[in-house]
């Protein structure tokens, strides 16, 4: 079982739609969860992070972690063509190696 699994997409939505991106993880010890956004031919950039369970909101973006089900979600409201990118969920192994563990990424296209 992969440590972090992500719906691969691709996902195409009309402008203004609500987008839901999802990941699951296997290790209940993981505490810190991140969403990276990667534009074509660029490096990943941190979009949001959450610690432990709960929601975090930043403008049109909401990150959610449900530790009981080991589920991570990113919601995008009023999606824009500029949101078209690959979104990667990630966590960090804090048991000693401090390695980052990434999902495979979901490619999102928002159609104008």
């Amino acid at each position: 079982q992969k440590e972090v699994e992500q719906d691969p997409g691709p996902l195409s939505v009309p402008e203004g739609a609500i987008v839901s991106l999802n990941c699951t993880y296997s290790n209940s010890a993981f505490q810190y969860f991140m969403w990276y956004r990667q534009y074509s031919r660029k490096g990943p950039e941190l979009l949001m992070y959450t610690y432990s369970s709960g929601n975090k909101e930043d403008g049109r973006f909401t990150a959610q972690v449900d530790k009981s089900s080991k589920y991570i979600s990113l919601f995008i409201r009023d999606s824009q063509p500029s949101d078209s990118a690959t979104y990667l969920c990630a966590t960090r192994d804090t048991s000693g190696t401090y390695k980052y563990i990434f999902g495979t990424g979901t490619r999102l296209k928002v159609l104008a």
Binding site: K42, G43, T94, Y98, K99, G105
Partner: protein, 113 residues
């Protein structure tokens, strides 16, 4: 702020050639990482380092070598390039605090023919 800088941005290698991908960061981060990204496969960890003089293997280290002689630099060496090493390579760095993100470079796109 330069952040994480990778060179070159693009390279074409012939099978059997060698090259070094350069990575430098100016944030005084202890941790540095090399990932490769293949279409639909996400980011796979090649090697990582927790500080100068200390390196360790990730998921896919075969065919690669690294060194970390300074805090700033973490070069990745490809010996005897193979077509399977065609990929986009990303270097990243992070501070030692456990609840912090990794900062990525812009990537090196490598083709082995």
């Amino acid at each position: 702020n330069a952040g994480v800088t990778q060179t070159p941005k693009f390279r074409i290698l012939k099978i059997g050639q060698s090259m070094t991908l350069q990575c430098t960061q100016d944030m005084n981060h202890n941790y540095m990482y090399w990932y490769r990204q293949d279409p639909g496969m996400g980011l796979k960890l090649i090697y990582y380092s927790v500080g100068a003089g200390i390196t360790d293997k990730g998921e896919v280290p075969n065919g690669y070598n690294v060194s970390r002689s300074t805090t700033e630099d973490f070069p990745l060496r490809l010996e005897l390039a193979a077509p399977s090493q065609t990929s986009v390579y990303f270097c990243a760095s992070s501070p030692p605090d456990r609840n912090t993100e990794a900062f990525f470079g812009q990537g090196t796109r490598l083709t082995v023919v």
